[in-house]
Each structure stands twice: as C-alpha cells, then as structure tokens.
Symmetry: C2
Subunit: 226 residues, 2 copies
C-alpha cells in the first residue's frame, strides 16, 4: 500500500505532519499571516520547534498548504455549479464568484498576506514556481469554464484564456483587498458589471480589426513574470 | 518675502532640510528602498540622526519626496511633447511612455519598493492620503492628455478617465516590476499593443449597448480604495 492510500492507517510521521499543517492553516485563517509564526504553530500543535521545521522547512511551506486548501475548496464549490451552465460568461462568473467567496474570511488579514506575496522574488507570489500546485488548480477551473462552454472562443484566444482569466482573478483579489465597503460589495459590483461588459463585448473579438491587437495584448499579459 | 521665493537666500534650516532630502532621494535611486535607512541618510548628509528625524519624522516622509521628484520629472518630460500632438491615444502614449522612462533606474529595487507600497494601510501606497501630492501631478497629466485632445470622449467618460488612466499606469508599473526581459521590452510591447487596441476599440464606447456597462466599470475601478 502507498502512503495516503485509503484504508491504510497513517504512520506517526504522517499524523504529526498533518497536525502541524492543520494547526497552521487554521491559524492563518484565524490570526492572519504575521501572527502565525513557526513557534506558535509548533506550540499549538504540541510539537517541538525543531520537529515543526523538520516537516516544514519554512513558514512559506505552510502558506503553500493554505493556498492549496483554499483552491481545493474553490474547485469543490465550482465544479457542481459548472455542470449546470453552458454559457461562457455565466461559467466565468461562477469561477470568479466562488473565488471571491473563498477569500472572504481573510479580508482583515489582506495587508499581511499582500506584503508577503507581492515581491516578484517571493516564493509566496502566486506567479512563483513554489505556488505552482495551487495555481494549477485555479487555472484548471478557468480552462474547464472556457472549454466546456457551448459558445466557445476561436482557438487562437482559447489557448491563452485560462492564464489571462486567472490573472484577472488575481487582479480582482487585489481590488478586493483594498475594498473597505461593507462585505466588499463594491468588488461584487465590479465583477457583475465586468461580466456584463464581457457579455456584450466578447462577440467583437471575432472582428478582423480587433482580432490581432486583442491577441497580442492577451499574449503579453499571459507572459507576466516569465 | 516667503520661504523659497526666488532671490531670497535659504535659511540654515532650509539648507539642512534640502541637504537631507537630496541625500535621501539620491540614496533611494542608488541603493534602493531597504538599504536607505534614516541612519545612513543622516550620516551621508553630515547631520545627527536626531536632526534628520526633526525634519523628516519617518523614512516614509523621505519616500514622499522621491515620489514628488519622480512625478515632477515625469511632468517636465511630458508637457513639451503633449504640445506636439492632438490625438487622444497618441497623447496617452506620451504620458505612459514617459512614466515608464522615469521608473527605469529603479527596476532592480522594485521588490523592496513594492513591499513597502502594496499594503492598503501603508502611507507609501500610491492611493494613500500621504501620496496625494505625487498622485495629483500624474493624474493631472492624464487630465491634460484627455482634455487637450481634438478627439474628446463623451463627458460622462471624460470625468472618470484621469483616475482610471492613472490606475492603468500603476497597473503597467506592476507588470514592469515583474518584467525580467532585457530593458523591460515586454512592458513596452504591452503598452504599444494596448494603445493600438485602444485606438481601434475606443470609438465603440459610443455605442448605446456598450456605454452603460463601460461607464459602470470605469466608475467602480476609479473608486478603488475609497
């Protein structure tokens, strides 16, 4: 039997790793980025600091666990809803709306997370190689939204769309982190109006005089950070 | 005579303040955000640390001096060129291109500055009240670009445009800070292609079915951070 295979009991090491991970993820949710230190996680998980570092060499490794958990919850919320709609813009709305819903508990901690994420050289940057596993989940949801629609885009756009739409999600998250309106309603309105605009504007990208410049801009946007 | 009036000699206090400011701005350019400490600025300006704090209560006050200097250089570069063009998109191109040119010397220090700027609560955030004087210069350049064009936009868009275009400049600067291509050519290409797209797409915002959603999105974008 392989580690983690259903039915096989977890080893002591796996149980310890899981306990540290779960403690850290809960602490990020309850106390934010800055207040969640390796020392605090070790104490609350009932392990020595050295033991915590053995399983997670840096705090950044624990943040990646959070990233993956948030994106897995995003996927679980999105997939049943995608099965109920075949319209491209509606499907994009599902992915964006559920993405914002996952972020909601973190709003008060947004400044601390932003500080840790924004540097182009940070392993916590959503564009970093380290953030690849979490990123792949979300990019995959946008791919599913695009390729599963009955009104599909021309192939030359479709290939770039998942990356560009995911960058749109990061952009919306940045706007949300600055949004001090009640329940971040302003971000919801921006999303609603943006989708409404997309619905009326999208057919235009098939026009010959728009096709080339739109594709160039999408290509360059998708290359951010390369 | 008022302080700073031409012809009036600077007082000792004004000379000291200017020396500290000039030393700090040069150090931000040469050593970046992190390596420019109050201690280092005081030493290099030949004043005591206490004296430096007397004129500039925090390092953030010195960064604001840098912001204003960069934006004044931006204005000096833009204004003569705006007099030579009456086309709206060409005029926007002048403001964006010169804005990127002013940032060029700072590319290697972008991570340190980004970290200091990104938090919604940071006084160094470009949206903060403290950054108002520098922001007003740049928003003013976009206003001049828009209102001085022969092909003006409908009034309902024009009022929002300076703020939205300035946010576009911040967005482009964020892309640039992640751009590792030689001389940040990729950012230049994104700007070129974005302007090309704007040129062909802009007439469409007069179409009745696009007018309302475009205006809603512009309004909401302009309200970021309020």
């Amino acid at each position: 039997m392989e580690p983690g295979e259903p039915g096989r009991p977890l080893s002591k090491a796996e149980r310890t790793r899981t306990r540290i991970r779960d403690t850290a993820v809960r602490s990020f949710r309850e106390n934010g980025f800055d207040a969640t230190t390796m020392r605090r996680v070790a104490d609350e998980a009932g392990v020595s600091l050295g033991n915590a570092y053995y399983y997670f060499p840096t705090k950044n490794h624990l943040v990646q666990e959070l990233y993956v958990e948030v994106q897995e919850a995003h996927r679980s919320a999105v997939e049943p809803r995608l099965r109920a709609s075949t319209d491209l813009v509606e499907r994009l709305g599902i992915v964006y709306r559920e993405g914002l819903a996952q972020l909601a508990p973190f709003h008060e901690f947004a400044p601390g997370f932003l500080n840790a994420m924004i540097s182009p050289t940070s392993p916590l940057n959503p564009l970093s190689p380290e953030s690849g596993p979490a990123r792949e989940i979300t990019v995959g949801l946008f791919r599913e939204a695009v390729t599963g629609a009955r009104n599909r885009l021309p192939a030359e756009f479709e290939a770039r769309m998942p990356d560009v739409l995911w960058l749109g999600h990061l952009q919306l998250s940045l706007y949300w982190s600055y949004d001090q309106s009640e329940g971040q309603q302003r971000t919801q309105r921006l999303l609603d109006q943006g989708l409404r605009l997309l619905k009326v504007a999208l057919p235009a990208i098939r026009m010959p005089f728009l096709r080339a410049p739109v594709r160039s801009v999408l290509d360059l946007v998708a290359e951010v950070g390369l």
